[in-house]
Amino acid sequence: MIRDLITMLYGVALALGLGIASAVWATNQLPLLGVMDIDGWTANPAIGGDHPDPYSQAYFSRSGGLPLAASEGLTFIRRADDAGEPFDAGCIYEIVGETPHARRWTLEVLRDGFPYSIQAPGIPVGLYSRNIVRFRDGTFRIRVAPRPQPGNWIYAGSSGPFALSLSLYDTSVASDTGLSDLHMPKVTRAGCIHG
């Protein structure tokens, strides 16, 4: 009798414990399924549609965010350079290349998952498609560095991890048929201030 009870309690505890823990873990981040990866930049095109999967919906219910809808745009996130090393604000990174076709794009620094905001005027923590210097063929080079740089420069803080978000507005990337090759800018580390 007692053994029956203990076995039953064990089963119930396993169900509740594992069920709750896995649900909390799975809704704490955007689902890994349906992720779109272009040259290391990742996005979740499904979240902007009118029938999001239950995990994306649960994630936004928990986090309270307001994602971009499908006809508004698509946000790509990047946390590591092309070599796979996580971004460190103490280092200099070069973002070189071009973006897929979009009416407009914004490139921003994320700290702790949110767009970085500093009170100092004149220090750029984000750039957009119309306020950058480009090469003759339309490609660009943007440096992320703790000190001002010639050309296009973004400040990501003086140290610590950060992420980059590239939001494409009015883009057809999510509905691309694969007929054309999509390219996102390459991100390489050019050196570190602290060695």
Partner: protein, 184 residues
Amino acid sequence: MARFLHATLVGLVGAALVHVAIVLMLPHLSANDVWRQIEAKTSLYQPARLDRNGDGPLIAAARSLDPMFAVTACRYDLSDGVFSITAPGNGDFWSVAVLDDFGRIVFSANDRIVATDDLELVVALPLQLRALQQNPRADFANAIMAEASRSEGFVVVRTFRPDATWEPVAEEFLQSVDCRANPL
């Protein structure tokens, strides 16, 4: 031993059920989702600026919004009648999204969908939409029609505002946003 294995198996199946139940129930139970924040902080048919460059962030979700965009929300209740939101065009990019009271995106569009540059969007329940089709109204002649299955929700309008010098442009556009209920 067999008893223990049996209990583990039952526990694992139970865990899967608990997992699915929590994930599916979260949108109904969450007190933190964007709809609850909008519902608590804005009044019906009153445009409210959401982004951090407005009068200070109104809702917690503002932190995650693109700081280069000015964002305005308007809350509606279709039981008052068909909802319409209008604004004269600003000659630049704008986008609009309709979300229901689960925070789900129902409809979205940008300035390229309209023939003129002006924003004119009507949100209606399926029955209201059918009534509108049978008796077209002249004031909705150029409007985009969006169908919503739930009567409560809100509309989000985004305009480009990369830095403070764009503030007058964004502010003028957002000031001209007009939200109203149109009883049929």
